[in-house]
Symmetry: C2
Subunit: 369 residues, 2 copies
Amino acid sequence: MNLFPELKKRYSGDNLNAREAQRLAEFIAFGPVVFQTARILLKWGILDIIRDSDNGMTIDEVAKHTNISIYAAKCLMEAALCIGILFIDPETDRFKISKTGWFLINDPAVRVNIDFNHDVNYEGWFHLEESLKEGKPAGLKHFGDWPTVYEGLSSLPEQVQKSWFGFDHFYSDSSFPEALEIVFKKNKTRSLYDVGGNTGKWALQCVAYDNDVEVTILDLPQQIKLMETNTSGKEGANRIKGYGINLLEASAKFPKNETAPDAIWMSQFLDCFSMEEIVSILSIAKEAMGDNTRIYIMETLWDRQRFEPAAFCLTMTSLYFTAIANGNSKMYNTEDLAECIKKAGLEIEKIYDGLGQGHSIIKVKLINQ
Amino acid sequence: MNLFPELKKRYSGDNLNAREAQRLAEFIAFGPVVFQTARILLKWGILDIIRDSDNGMTIDEVAKHTNISIYAAKCLMEAALCIGILFIDPETDRFKISKTGWFLINDPAVRVNIDFNHDVNYEGWFHLEESLKEGKPAGLKHFGDWPTVYEGLSSLPEQVQKSWFGFDHFYSDSSFPEALEIVFKKNKTRSLYDVGGNTGKWALQCVAYDNDVEVTILDLPQQIKLMETNTSGKEGANRIKGYGINLLEASAKFPKNETAPDAIWMSQFLDCFSMEEIVSILSIAKEAMGDNTRIYIMETLWDRQRFEPAAFCLTMTSLYFTAIANGNSKMYNTEDLAECIKKAGLEIEKIYDGLGQGHSIIKVKLINQ
């Protein structure tokens, strides 16, 4: 396994002493309520008012200022003390927020993850064991009776949708500016197939980036209609075409134009499929490629993260795919996708790292081109 | 707040650097699935087979040996790597268990907590916010429509009961031998009221400890019948009496014999009540006291723990009382119980620490005796 340096440092050795390891084991054993405590402290603004206080706050003061019972304030703040979100001056009984508390308040990634994990995942993860056994998203059933979350997305409760899209967009949007540079400036791309193009968010940026760019969005037929409504009237929309396709059908074929496209774009798309399905999708894509066509696979590869907490978030997010999304996909690492690419008879030309929140782009070509 | 040394060290200062604090914030944000991952790795014996291997195991080997999909093994083991349960040799892709993994397997406290938190608490803690707001155990409702868990205990699913009692007994049983020494050897006790005596487990030990000891168990009338069945025919059972009482009724009175009892015993009992209720219960007890009567309150006081992880477990367990048990009680600290004792017009004579898994006994007397 080829781990980036910060990951190798942390994951290739046992770096806790016995006492700290025992503490971590108990921390894990109470993980669900550690999470809920932190979430409520944030949601009720308790961390904010303690941060904004001149000299910390007592339990009674917090209860009074937030209009909750002393019992509730005591339970939350004592738990927070032991979790490491707050610390105390034992002389004055005044609590202050720790650096960890500060990150809970200020780090947008942490906030997005907390909302996503409470609204979308918490209840479903109770059924993680069943999901792993059956290869089905058993945690989705309390929302509805769909085979995958994608069919149910538009029917999910409003707050659940909000947290789902908040999570999805937070991770993708910040990578688009750098991705445009790579696809259109570092490489010569005029025609692009946007596979799983969804509402056309990326396609609109492509046609706006360069007047000569033509985009064909490939997605499920019902999705293409939504995309057309969404892009209609916007700058360059006349250079965006839709092509209805179900890539899981054996007979599926990419559109065959006079010339092969310069680029085939797949962003946060392959992580929604199993490795077998990815091989099949890449094989279908291969049929539409010419010598100069390149596939650009944009993914958050967990082994290629510069900072270790990002890798942690990604391997944990895999279990959302297991229990909620579809039961058979995950956040892959380079090795997994390289295996799929090889099995599809394709070759990696180059990997661009460090886009946005931690995306990479794998540039793929036909073998020997 | 009077924290024991190890707790003061950890809770009175911010002892993480910014990078570790950010990591901890994300660890908290994924707390529920960190927990489920560890639980499944344990339950499926994956940690065991990796520990027992000569030189670690690869993902494929684990999948084969445990008869699960490679996908499932990969999701679990990659997550475990980032959590710190496993580590990897990147040259060979072989995983080994870390010290944290070792504690998950071998520390009985961790195991008991994991079972309790999955079977009894996980789903209920989703409703922690509501519970704290309303002062009611809102997380209990998916089990049944009882005001507190105690009414529902005998109707809970078998596995839930097993984990509940496993947790309850693990913490109390190990303290009984030392508690007997304190109550009967260090102090002169012949007659004892066992308040909340439940099935008579402690009472049987008392009458077996000394042939002169007489015990009266005070509990709800329906509980007394169960106790009589349970103790019937056992050694010294003729020296155990039952007395039906509901201590939350304003008119409740302890039995008044010719002489006041030497001891009033309350073990893991007061943590099931709010502080207002505790004051009332102690006031009722006070009416039955003579100059030589002592109340012995045995509790796990979170501020008096020798090892910090124990304090962590206790403040987290408070949130079981909030969301599942009754909505208004908790694991108290010395300060809280001292306040109740004072309000009831009583006085602390002595505190014995360090019994079993971390119990203390607060010995209480009438003022000026």
